[in-house]
């Protein structure tokens, strides 16, 4: 699926407590995509942690958004950063962190942690 079309899957609802800085965490234990090099399926857990400003992500749309990666070839580093970019563009959160935690491949277990704003922002 093209990245532009994927973002359209994400829906939001208004944050009812915008005067408070509070943290929302959604953990997707059943993420799967495809390795762009070998064509083999990859499996992992995606954790989304954020402080909402005006919008919260709607859960069903988030589920469909994450499922859209199912048959796409994409690297660990890129899938984590792309989810961060897409959610920032839709929610404009005060703060957000995405953790991609992938299962063992060739004896190596990988994790990628991307945060907004980061030290360079």
């Amino acid at each position: 699926m093209k990245s532009k079309n994927r973002v359209k899957l994400l829906e939001s609802f208004p944050n009812s407590f915008p005067n408070r800085d509070y943290v929302i965490i959604h953990q997707a234990n059943e993420f799967t995509s495809v390795c762009p090099k070998t064509g083999q399926p990859d499996f992992g857990m995606i954790t989304i942690k954020y402080i909402a400003d005006k919008k919260c992500v709607e859960l069903k749309s988030l589920k469909f958004y994450l499922q859209s990666y199912r048959n796409d070839g994409i690297f660990y580093e890129n899938v984590t950063n792309t989810i961060l970019d897409d959610l920032i563009s839709v929610l404009k959160p005060r703060w957000m962190e995405i953790v991609g935690d992938f299962t063992v491949r060739g004896g190596l277990q990988s994790k990628v942690i991307a945060t907004y704003p980061d030290n360079k922002s």
Copy 2:
């Protein structure tokens, strides 16, 4: 149950050690409410962490207060913030944090953490 009536369920007793900033934690493992969209039951764990000022929350009344959500439709984000608002109004604590930790729905596990006072206060 209407929010105004719900707050009336909460009772307090005087803090015997008001000269000390100490932390009290109550964890309710058996919280349940109803999803406002689907009408399906939601399940979770509510953790209340606070530094009392003049009042401590009475445990039996806290149990009845949390049970009052059993058949009400309310979102994860709102139930967590509402419990924080209600306990602040009754206890006027020096500091308080509510964590709502909800079970898996559609492969997504959610958590909401609201604190008083927060960065915006």
Copy 3:
């Protein structure tokens, strides 16, 4: 993928110790298929336990066989029994058990255990 084509993915190699009744177990932690009713992805763990006769299943071919279910719609009960039927037809084992252990859906976690030969055989 059609069932007939799927079986062709399975390859075997000769059992080097046919004079001994010994047990071989392969556990696939990353099985995924699609729910035939909702179109939503299902996730689970497939465990294959058998006493070989003349043939052992080749591991790489087993991986590809199990991956072939990735985008097919099939019920828990049927996927477990079909894997049993396919492996029996290729390996002709002395004894075999397939366990399908599927993740939570709507608060229900499911497991199917099929054995050959069973009590009715």
Copy 4:
């Protein structure tokens, strides 16, 4: 809800592998009912284990059947045996076991295990 009406919630689908004795297990982690003595909510886990004959229980209908106990007053021993009776009447399984595993009350954790056919049958 009256017991007669409750059974009507259960639906079945035909067993595709009736020539094999295989085991199906569904575990409901979010069961809740009400204590008939105190009116307080009870929480627990219901495990259904059976060998199907001609019919398998449909999962969505099983979810609604178990949810129908939410606001009914019923003892641990009775809820477990009633679920067994209801599922037998609908599925006519070759064998079935129900385990009710209830959370701590007054420092006591309870479990009830009912099987069909049992030693007395």
Copy 5:
């Protein structure tokens, strides 16, 4: 407390499913008594497992019965067998097992398992 008076604390209610051999388990995680030699408190977990005949043990009365040992001096072997004798006399079960699981004393952790009827009965 004298043993005769202790038994009087136990109450029962009629078994609603006497035509079925089913198992009931109650686990008391907070048992405490006193060591008859040193006067030091002992702590442990008492598990009661039985197949009821005409009577089931009432949970609140069981709690009070177990609490009655709180300040009595009694050995591990004897407390386990005495609970078995007392429950047999009140419930007349078809089968019963008591497990006493006691915490570490002097680097030794002890467990006593008594069953009715046993091999000698």
Copy 6:
């Protein structure tokens, strides 16, 4: 037991390393007292963490001190703060923290954390 008499149970021995700020932790897993409202036994774990000045608490005397609460009615908040006050009066530590971690009552698990000196000191 009266609070004044209870403190007398605590004994100390001289700190052999007073020139070093080091941490001593004692965790009592078998604490029990009585609920002042219901008369029912409470169970929990008391953790004592401190930086000694001139005195360390003697372990056997600490055991007897904690056992002296066995049949006294006292709230969670008060037992934790009282243990802190008593140990401060005897040891005059540089820093001390008491954690009371109590078992589930009515679905609620409670924890109290009191520190000396605290933010208000």
Copy 7:
């Protein structure tokens, strides 16, 4: 310590429930002896499981008996069988099993299980 002297450390008390076949288990988590080849300390867990006839082992004497191995050189296989022989000679139990569970040495973790009476008795 000589084996003859070691047995004298074991004391017993009369079994109060000789008409019942019940199981007693003592687990010693802090066993240590010395390797007869290297002189290096060995560490492990000794579990004693038995059905008493006329006598039960007294716990304090069991502790001292097990401590008597502290500085003696003895192999895993022999220490487990010797403890079995010594306890049989003192208690004359109806049935007994000793499990010696030793920590890792050179990447190998060892366990010895000796039972009385065994298949050869």
Copy 8:
């Protein structure tokens, strides 16, 4: 290393308790060999469980025997059965079981269990 040379690494010592059928278990957590197809290293845990007759395996020699597979290419099924054959030839045990438990490769975790004498013996 050639299989004949490998067996010579195994040493034994006389069983001091030949009149008793007792079980000895050695678990090697750090087994490694090489995949004969890919040349990639394999890792696993080898468990040796046996009833000795006249001889017990000496631990240090067992360690060197297992290390001798380090750079040899051999399949999971064969390594497990070969270790069984080698230990039988040296120890002539009354009963023996070897379990090879190998780490995940391509999402598949494998285990092989070989026993002597087996059902076919």
Copy 9:
């Protein structure tokens, strides 16, 4: 293998998100080398944690690089620092940490943690 040759095994690919400081973690659970003193194999887990600048480490090359230590004699402290030096020279990361977590030898379990830049840099 000589250190110079070993570094050549490492390959990199361009970082697609150089404008963000994000963390990448690879954990190798199956590291093995040889003790330079005893010639005995060592086993451990190597964790690589870094913030990429222009380059990310390619996973397959990292696997081969770590496997190249299989038959080399090197101390725990040195292997950890050498991996850090080699990865710095190839990736020139903004920040990097290597953790070597080695299994028990003679009752001692060792861990080495090296970071770039460290306090002395």
Copy 10:
């Protein structure tokens, strides 16, 4: 063993990476000494964590040093601080922390944490 003689058991080797501040951790799971009051054996785990300057502790000598406490009577607080003093005198590390984690005695589990340099240094 006298403290002076004990220190002589410790050997060191030169730190190959003195230009880097990196952390070395050795955890001894099988520490045992004797209680100076009761003569009963104590058991625990000693963790040594340090930043080396010119010298690293040699592992075999560390094992013998820790074993030298086996039959000496010494309090928890003193054994932890003495190990810290001895290792400082031999290694002159940039930073060091010793944690002594002792098993349950009389229902109390103890831990001592000593650091160099500490707040008072």
